[in-house]
Amino acid sequence: MRARAGLALAALLAAAIAGAVAAARTGAAPPRVAPAGPLPEVFLSDRTAARLGIREGDTLELAASPAGPWHLVRIARVYRPVLYPTDVALRGLDVRLHLPDLQALLREGDQVDSIVVRLRDPARADEMVARLNAVALGFRAYTSADLARRNSSTFEVISRFHRAISVVAILASSVFLAAIMTLRGEELRRQVGVMRLIGISRRSVAAAVLLIATGVALLGSAVGIGLGYALSAAINVYYRRAFDTTILFSQVTPALLGLVAALSVALGIAAGAATAWRLLHRPPLDQIGR
């Protein structure tokens, strides 16, 4: 099978393999740039291969623009890329070329935009970056952590958005919890009245109400955590399948669980204290309906 692809955007490479996102065309038209020797070899992502309906061993025509010139290449391998979260929703075509082939395709000559360097000792990344920036002219070195930070502004916005949703959810759940305790308080009203009539101290009654409120809060947070886990798993299953990736879209962390449990217990105690105060400031005879 032969295929032709119009290259839309090229990214660059490490070691000997170049990466490119390509708009491809397939068909039987002859290449406009004939290779002098064997066909250049490229790697194709599995998504691109599936989209173009081609496989390893097939040929493909690539160009930096739809106007050409077109270069005939052979698909050496179809691979499954590790996607960055930013790439998950992209539907472009993904081709990886050897650097010389890519340079020929782009007619850029001997030029690269970026080079990724893997260190034997990643702990020395900062030192390495400092040394490179001190001696090299014409480019700037960054650690991968710096790059991640520079490129994560979108995620920070999303993260803040999620935090805002969490705050609203927590406020809503606290209102819900207060409502439950108010209802529970009404159920408890007669029992509290009886307890006070038979001489149970206010302190003991308040402790019992607080215990019940804390129990309700703990039960609620346990159910909430269970739901969170289930929803998180469902989200991951759905989006991993939808985007054909292994990226984790939703994560329930121990810190998050701690926060949820602490908040719900605090809210439960507050709601219980309010209920206890209300119940203990009514005459016991009123509470039993006399």
Binding site: I200, S201, I288
Partner: protein, 241 residues
């Protein structure tokens, strides 16, 4: 007028019982409720003494002040005027917490609707006042079982109120009222929600309790229960008739 009424009238008129036998007393007690719709005079100068080992029934039409008098004698409520004395202490002079302690240790309450705590078993309901009073766990468990046995419910000790009949719940409530060996047991319509047989069982039990030395005051419409009382006080419009 029967003998019991005669006794009550005699006390009302000033015939004083032996002071060492008096558990609770009311002296010219007035209770007034100020409601949005006006003032209600629930009690209009009641004088009454309750002696240990006596079963006293209070009868009368609805709204005549029977339950109000019961609550005042038990230190649940305070009089507007006059003096209620409970175990030698005027209730009006005691703080809310002191009154609660007095009720816990010396007064037992039995209500028409039982008012057991639904999440607790029969044994736990009976043990609750003892727990508050600081009775050690083995002792309160032993006593709770003994009390349930006394009211004929040893076999139901681990059942919750929802699993018991009305008569059984009332017997558990009586066992709870006796938990801290009270000097005074106050029962407000204890047979009001029970059939005749269960009501008679409760009446018999209250009679036994008074024979054991506890002062028992029962507000009732049940003529059989009223009839077996040592004394009967008939009320009308906040006064002893």
């Amino acid at each position: 007028m029967d003998d019991a009424q005669a006794v009550a009238q005699a006390q009302h008129a000033g015939g004083a019982p032996a002071p060492d036998r008096v558990v609770a007393s009311a002296d010219a007690v007035v209770k007034v409720y100020r409601m949005p719709g006006g003032t209600v005079h629930a009690l209009r100068g009641i004088t009454l003494a309750v002696e240990r080992g006596t079963l006293l029934s209070i009868v009368g039409p609805s709204g005549c002040g029977k339950s109000t008098l019961l609550h005042l004698l038990g230190g649940v409520d305070l009089p507007t005027a006059g003096t209620v004395t409970l175990l030698g202490q005027p209730t009006a002079s005691l703080s809310d917490a002191a009154l609660a302690r007095l009720r816990l240790r010396h007064v037992g309450f039995v209500f028409q609707r039982f008012f057991l705590l639904p999440m607790l078993t029969a044994e736990e309901n009976v043990a609750l006042p003892m727990m508050e009073a600081g009775v050690a766990q083995p002792d309160r468990r032993r006593r709770a079982r003994a009390l349930l046995e006394r009211v004929g419910l040893a076999h139901r000790s681990q059942h919750r109120p929802g699993q018991l009949s009305g008569g059984e719940m009332q017997r558990v409530a009586i066992a709870r009222a006796l938990a801290n060996r009270p000097a005074l047991l106050l029962a407000d319509e204890p047979t009001g929600e029970l059939d005749a047989a269960a009501g008679w069982e409760i009446a018999r039990l209250l009679r036994e309790i008074s024979r054991d030395g506890c002062a028992v005051v029962v507000v009732t419409h049940n003529t059989e229960l009223a009839a077996i009382a040592d004394r009967q006080v008939r009320m009308r419009d906040g006064t002893i008739a």
